[in-house]
């Protein structure tokens, strides 16, 4: 029972990281209608920056995280302006390939700057572990912080999109870009803002991911990126609560699948569940079905 609870908590924690990454995918998809494959690599950059800030420059953890957030936000907006904005009218596949090129570019830049050898991410959260039920259930500090961060981000983002003017502008652009433009919404600015928020969250995700799984190398971001993308689709791409539900469920399924079914087949189980969900609900758990007309 305790082992199950422990796995469940770890699953929710991993799922929270997926959820935070998935938000970046889902928001960008909702507004720019593109799959930003470079998102996973922004996470990796964020983790490296936090690592350097803490390890080499001796910054305190909070400052290291802030530096990582600032760099990633800037990076996200720059990528959007340089590579994606000129392709606004192009086919979605052209944008997809550009995003893949960007992903290669970031990975190889990281390879040149930081080298191929994995770096061990220091324990920046440093809360130790908490023992519950007479020490039968040990929960790491990083796990709790991850789950808490996820909840805070979700609440903040929901309020942001529902209440603020910029959030409303984002929803408008996502619903109908042309109409939004006619209503005087600054579409390009809104898209940049979305990339900024997504990349900002990516920095947090990178920090949390490496706090729980402390191996840092240029490919660190790719697999979590793919999983988070899966999570976004799982929840219904374009939907913010969907990303949260999809991310957490995916994390829980992955950890429980690895613990109780087969360690080797963990990833296969995750993807099999995704396929089954999409067959039953072809637009994901919370996605809106669109009606087609000729």
């Amino acid at each position: 029972m305790m082992a199950f609870l422990s796995n469940l908590v770890n699953g929710i924690s991993l799922g929270s990281i997926y959820a935070i990454i998935a938000l970046g995918y889902t928001m960008v998809y909702g507004i720019a209608k593109m799959l930003n494959f470079a998102h996973g690599d922004v996470i990796m950059v964020g983790a490296y920056i936090a690592f350097c800030a803490a390890q080499y420059w001796g910054f305190p953890p909070v400052l290291a995280l802030l530096v990582a957030m600032a760099v990633c936000t800037l990076l996200g907006v720059t990528i959007e302006k340089l590579a994606y904005a000129p392709l606004r009218q192009a086919t979605s596949l052209a944008v997809l390939i550009t995003a893949i090129g960007m992903s290669y570019l970031l990975q190889n830049l990281a390879l040149l700057i930081w080298g191929a050898n994995p770096k061990v991410f220091p324990d920046l959260i440093g809360l130790g572990s908490i023992a519950l039920f007479d020490g039968q259930l040990v929960v790491k500090g990083a796990t709790l912080v991850t789950i808490a961060a996820n909840i805070v981000i979700m609440v903040a983002l929901t309020l942001f999109t529902a209440r603020t003017k910029m959030g409303k502008a984002m929803r408008c652009v996502s619903e109908d870009r042309g109409a939004a433009e006619l209503m005087g919404i600054h579409v390009n600015g809104t898209i940049s803002l979305t990339f900024a928020i997504g990349s900002f969250l990516a920095a947090i995700a990178g920090f949390l991911l490496c706090s729980s799984y402390p191996v840092l190398q240029p490919t660190t971001g790719s697999m979590p990126g793919i999983k988070a993308f899966t999570a976004a689709v799982f929840g219904g791409i374009g939907s913010i609560p969907g990303a949260m539900v999809g991310g957490v469920l995916l994390g829980v399924i992955e950890i429980l699948g690895k613990a109780y079914i087969s360690t080797e087949l963990g990833d296969a189980i995750v993807f099999a569940v995704l396929i089954i969900v999409l067959l039953v609900r072809p637009t994901g758990l919370m996605g809106k079905a669109t009606r087609e007309k000729v």
Partner: protein
Amino acid sequence: MSVKQKKLIYNLVTIGLVAAAWLIFTLLLNHDAGVPRKERILSSSMKDQLIPICCWIVMAVSLNLVVGISGELSLGHAGFMSIGAFTGIVVSGWLLNGFAVEDATLRLVLAMVAGGLTAGIAGVLIGIPVLRLRGDYLAIVTLAFGEIIKNVLNCVYVAADGRHLNLGFINNNIAGTMLLNGPNGAKVKTIATVNAGFILVLITLVIVLNLINSRSGRAIMAVRDNRIAAESMGVPVTKYKMMAFVTAATLAGMAGALYGLNFATLLPTKFSFNESINVLVFVVLGGIGNILGSVISATALTILPEKLRFLQNYRMLVYAVVLIVVMLATNNRTIRAWFNTLSERLRPGKREEAKSHE
């Protein structure tokens, strides 16, 4: 020139180019075989790349059938290649160990046929659920299947014990000569030949070009352009989507078998999501729906990273920049307009022809 004639010329040029390349490389290889290393025309790295290039051409052309002609974004094409590769390795090893088939050509042909068949069957099984979905959801499910195939093959052990094939799943404690060794991959007796590669490319081109220009091909493209309109005209949507998907899977399986039998060791993790993406890059850069474009871009982009080796660590960086710049340039209006005026100037007849049609 009528549309029909134009298509015929396009097809003949495509097939002719490959046939000419085959002829040239056969001559070069024959020339190189008899002379000392210094006088060889083909470098050894170029020679080693011929078979992989043929495999990637087949992959690109077959993926183009799905992405360009049938209009479904597939992100798991390497999964079919993987199935074909490992089936091919098992069949080839089994024939050698269990039936003492010494003839390498026979083994290669049987391995490729078997690889194509299993990948085709996998294509049917995967196509049934996948083709019910649309757009990005379809893309993600193909991605998921690709990852599942990779993950499952990582756990499969096959050994040939005389004429028996022993299978193990996760459990590697099986008797006989190991053919597949789970995550340690397969040790392969390489039997792939350049001729087989070129023949496979030619077969692929004939199949795909014929399919595109047939009644079925027109139905597939009608479904791509407007599914609902096509359906209301009586085109069975699922049947034609399936036809494109399974054909592509079969061809990818054959390419996989050839690819697998070309390297001394092969790991299941080789056919990851990145390989699927690479093939997609070939298709998009060559032009979506353009078969000749796929052939050229698959060749160029397989050679390019090798030719960039002198850049050492900057190699993949340059590749990434080339990819982004090409995408930006081909989608830039000013550059496009410039190219259009250029082609009009070079072929002055075209404008009048266009006008007379109006």
